[in-house]
Symmetry: D2
Subunit: 291 residues, 4 copies
């Protein structure tokens, strides 16, 4: 199939590379030249601009935040360069933008689905992402073969695209909660003179033996938050998306509220660009521990 | 080896049965007659009283709460009926009691270790519990062969027995945090008209595919909290143990504080004896949802 | 002096009436006709539109929320109809809008000050409001005689108009905190079988004998939240302004976070248009009390 | 009347002095000699021990915490030296101890009332304390003339003495909430570059012009927490009493939970013996401000 891919950071590059390996024709675009060159070597064509990638069967977009997505698609009045490609938006977006995008595409007669993913870049490279998709069933059916290349399983969660975004927001909130839970457990045992690596290893191996806990548990145990896998300021953004989604439907989320305060505390104290698990430094500081 | 086992509820019975199967002589005692009879059929001897089980190589105790343990051991001035058995305390106890027990046994010259476990009764029956042990290394060495029958892995976390208790408290806190995280995610998606079973399945399969999340996720998705696997009032007790341990060392634990409030809310609204995952009803009620 | 007054709800009408009584010429405007007629009887002139009131020495505006203010002034590109009146903005606005307004007026060469007030309509009618003003000192000096009619004391808090808005936001947050504090105290004593009216009377008379506590204490004691003095949804808006101002400067405000959750709980459970002290119903419900 | 007074710290001394001035015979006792001497000069008799003061018409006790009170009265099996004096307990005690004391005195046939007070030492010296009393009406009637000397108003809140204790606990919680509210407002305005003294003066004068806000507002505005008027660790104790009272009746108190965390944070970071308004340093630290 003929596919465009806009936004080829670490996650996007890994997905685009898998589409190439599977024999699809992929036209890529990004503000940054380096990843474009790397994908070119793997057989991708470099688009002239974002719109030039918007043709054929599908356009995948993986852009960093609401502002960029809004600028490119809605404010920029983006339309396909030719044909009737399905826009597959993979970004973590707010419910507000998700609904605005759906309305915009409907207005333009462009098929639109939201397909959010979980998994780190190495999981993406292995084509084993988990995908949650929502949108018009016919549009999803058209891109399903491509999703099958990118991920190992796809969950369909409804006809309104924003539902995939909300599922993503909810999942990310649960990850952030897991980090704070590890951080509080670590502070508690350290304050009693115990070894956090030892205790966290026992707890996580026994009860929570999945990469999310394993990975953040290791960082918190070692008190080592650099280099960041996911910047703390981006974590703050994700927690805000959850709070905003909650506010739209009047859903109190006390854990999310606490997380927001911890993220701001971390940012105010200089850790904006450490890994988001560095909210554990806030938990430690509260207990008077050397963080 | 010759082993006593005091407190044979669902967990204790499963462990005692495994000790019997492994060929050890086990003398059991409990306030309740039924489980004693069941174990007798599997080859156990029924003790005359708790002290009568306290002989040979080791006494395992798995009693329900601080008050009972304190009554039996400290106030009751429990001592071995004969020999020099190691007391292996498997209960979830407060740090205060843990330290008092260590002092009491030291005073009496009785070897004492705390060995806390994670795993549901089916895991216990399979001999696959995770065990965290702390205490005098020689005493631990003596009972290690028995621990190897009960669990699949043992973590040694220090010489002071209370350390095993604190590890248990920290782990249980993390489980409670996971429940509240699931509950908030479920309330969020339900309030937006989505199916909690669908979204939780996607999130948990993708990111948290372990029995803790799987099990509580299912209960919360189905809004089905009976019969309880673990009573909500006992969950409240565990959260209090974490808060008390935090207070002893001045460790603020905001997630634990929030949990305490949710547990009390649930109890005040009639759910004391539902499964502790019924704090999800509190999360739903806060959002005006039919819980 | 020649004064315009845009937005004559209960507060605005009381202030405009005092300006009239003090002998000033006042031209009033509002979307609603009734209060305009009432002020006309007291000597006011009814403006043709908002801009028609924007002339002479000063324009006072007391509009309900950010959206309305932004529409009228910035989007509507409001400019004086004649002369060089000082715009005195009395609304509770976000920091963001406050800064945008300052920039817009500077751009247009129109003198602009923010003057926020505390006090209920009866205090406004008595000319005893407390006023916090910020902006260009010369502009403030020009309108000070008018502020002296409206209020009993004016605090000057700096040259950037947004500072008056922030002071207002901070003060309103403190009022919301007082309400929740009363609500928790009331729930606590009621749950122990005591009379909330009795105990709150003792506490408030002894320690907090000011109208804020007296008034909300009475409503909470009597569990009587209608008619609303200040709608709960507006209270939610004020708490959000505090949280947004906190977010801009990375200031965790845990009481404000808790309040946000209580307000949403109240709204989700049907109390959006009761008095904002009805968050006490949330506190009562959490404790299983008949609210 | 003939009165004993046990526990003559700053508050007790001021009250005892007023009783002397009003012409009553007062026998005083304390662990510390200094205040006894000072009262002796004002006409008091120094008792041989606590029991020696427990005679005549009434014994006032103003002891520092649950442990001391329990030791002296319950464990020490305190009984009147002669006659049938009413024991008037003025301490801030837990509900648990309050109930135990009532039971103990009932058992001994000794009339017992709890009379808690609000007001700083200067208010006590002026005889203007606010008093909340609970207990047997006849016993209260006997000591009312004495209470009228000590305070300016007495509220009767029921026949069970513990009700006066709960009212005191609830009032103290509200004071602690006011401190945190001031602290958050101060952090918010400081982080935006404003002067906390200026803004707090405006807010407090306008809305909260009572000594509680005035006093703590000044300390927080000046960031000056020494010498302490009331030690932060004692504040922590008071918050715990509220949380314990809440727990007994399943009353979630989210503000109290947040306060508990702030107090522990302050203690863990070295401020245990500053004034309890130093929880404002925690609020400032969270926002990355120089506290």
């Amino acid at each position: 199939m003929e596919v465009g891919f806009v936004g080829v950071g670490r996650m996007g590059s890994a997905m685009a590379a898998n589409l190439l390996k599977a024999g699809h024709r992929v036209k890529v675009w990004d503000k940054s030249v380096e990843p474009l060159r790397a994908l070119q070597k793997q057989g991708a064509e470099i688009a002239a601009d974002a719109r030039d990638a918007f043709r054929g069967d599908a356009l995948f977009s993986m852009l960093p935040n609401d502002d960029v997505i809004r600028d490119v698609f809605i404010t920029g009045r983006m339309q396909p360069a030719s044909g009737r490609p399905v826009h597959v938006n993979m970004a973590t977006a707010s419910m507000q933008l998700a609904n605005d995008l759906a309305a915009y595409h409907a207005d333009q007669g462009v098929p639109y689905v939201a397909a959010t993913v979980w998994g780190r870049p190495d999981v993406a490279a292995a084509g084993k992402l988990s995908i949650v998709v929502a949108g018009d069933p016919q549009a999803i059916a058209r891109v399903q073969p491509l999703l099958d290349v990118i991920g190992q399983k796809t969950w369909h969660v409804g006809d309104e695209p924003s539902r995939a975004n909300l599922a993503k927001i909810a999942g990310n909130l649960m990850v952030a909660c897991a980090i704070e839970a590890i951080a509080e457990a670590a502070a508690l045992v350290r304050a009693h003179g115990m070894s956090a690596p030892e205790v966290l290893d026992a707890i996580i191996t026994s009860l929570f033996n999945v990469p999310v806990y394993r990975g953040y548990g290791d960082m918190i145990a070692k008190q080592q938050y650099e280099p960041p896998g996911f910047d703390l300021v981006l974590g703050m953004k994700d927690v805000r998306l959850a709070l905003m989604a909650g506010e739209e439907a009047n859903v109190p989320l006390p854990f999310a509220s606490t997380l927001r305060d911890s993220f701001m505390d971390a940012i105010a104290n200089g850790d904006a660009h450490k890994d988001w698990s560095a909210i554990a430094r806030v938990a430690a500081r509260r207990a008077g521990l050397q963080d």
